[in-house]
Symmetry: C2
Amino acid sequence: MQPLKAIINGRLLLDNEATLSIHDLSVTRGYGIFDYFKTVDGRPIFWEDSLDRFFHSAQLMDLPVPYTRTELKDQIQTLMQANQIADSGIKLLLTGGDSPDGYSIGIPNLIITQHPLQRNADKEQNGIKLITYAYHRPFSRVKSTDYVMGIQALKKAKAAGAEDVVYVQHGLLSECPRANIFLIDKDGTLITPEEDVLAGVTRRYILEMARPHMKVETRNVTLEDMTNASEAFISSTTKNITPVLQIDDVVYGKQPGPHTRMLQSLLNQLIYDREAASATHLP
Amino acid sequence: MQPLKAIINGRLLLDNEATLSIHDLSVTRGYGIFDYFKTVDGRPIFWEDSLDRFFHSAQLMDLPVPYTRTELKDQIQTLMQANQIADSGIKLLLTGGDSPDGYSIGIPNLIITQHPLQRNADKEQNGIKLITYAYHRPFSRVKSTDYVMGIQALKKAKAAGAEDVVYVQHGLLSECPRANIFLIDKDGTLITPEEDVLAGVTRRYILEMARPHMKVETRNVTLEDMTNASEAFISSTTKNITPVLQIDDVVYGKQPGPHTRMLQSLLNQLIYDREAASATHLP
């Protein structure tokens, strides 16, 4: 493979030579937003949704995006052309920029990077274990770069033999640090938190796909819901639908349940089946 | 003035040419810690306390510091020698480093910067106004680079004609985004929150200085305490003791009160009076 390229402020350059000032507000104050989508077989997947959310996050964080949507898409395509990675993750990162006083927002820097991305077939097939973690992400509608708690929580998860954590506060489940969470109750109803969680793109498509097949509830999800559920899974761009077999001491089964499998199959069709994908267009 | 210098990983270079990889975990995940002290007339003030806290923050965030304390002090002195700024702020920043997988901690980068720093005599003399803001800083013992909420809150403060905010959650005051908060009650007792706040260096010296002169309570501080107080002030390395004349609708007075003035005078002696400073050594 040729050396990776990246784009900073519209300029294509070698990824490993791409740098930011040490005074950028992303470095000094953790102030930045990003978004992320993948390419499968060279096709960008759900990138319109990702761009929608990128502009929305930027607005909520008072960061002016220095390019139009069309210009961003052109830059992304330039990068894809330069890197030639069929299966990849593409990240748009918008930083707070060099601050005049070390605190107020400067002129944002826009960074686009791409890296090879493979599915984790083992986890999608065999499922994972989670533990609960007492936290609630502030500013949860923004896809910000604030992952301090997620990185710290991962340490606890690994120590407990789990893959990751799910945040719980005041008895309510919200989300995983990098994924949305879903439960399926004993009646086969799909349940996922609605308030104060990241508006996951994969989450959105799962809900759309599920509606013709099962009852869907987006609402507060309690620890009691978690205990009484018969299946659970998480979703994200990289994780697709990854079954959850256990949360803390609550065991859902030795293998993923039938509803999870059915939704995995629908999502696979939408994302990985080129013919089905070109024929499908969700609103 | 000659161009500013900075030190990255032990190497002295021009501040405006100092950069970090776009993949540093501080950029991509907001993962980093820092500390900050000032020089007055070329004398580093309370830098031992600042270094103590720096190593403590690094440890709590699982970031190995790539230098010994002695090496860090040598680097700081090299930078002070190079920049020749008598009155300055010096910041040590330790980042999560280039992550192998974009999420786990890499090999930290250590950045030392220095910039000219002048006292804000007007605010120290005439006081400021604050508003309360519903938030609580997670991981509050760590001086992390996570200031997203502080920067957002500042916008609200400015809109309300205030200087900054003080965080309140569950009826308890904790701290300002970049300062500790103190109240003085009607009996002349100095009160400041103890739990879940940054261990401010200036805060520590204020408490030590105050004890011979007044009753001191470090404990939970409620909204009722705030309402009933007769004086208030905030403290930080850059703000010293800055009087607070009003929080929300609670007005403490048109000018700073006598206890605040007395503590300002003691702190001034400790920090700005060279002879007093050289004779004073707090435990």
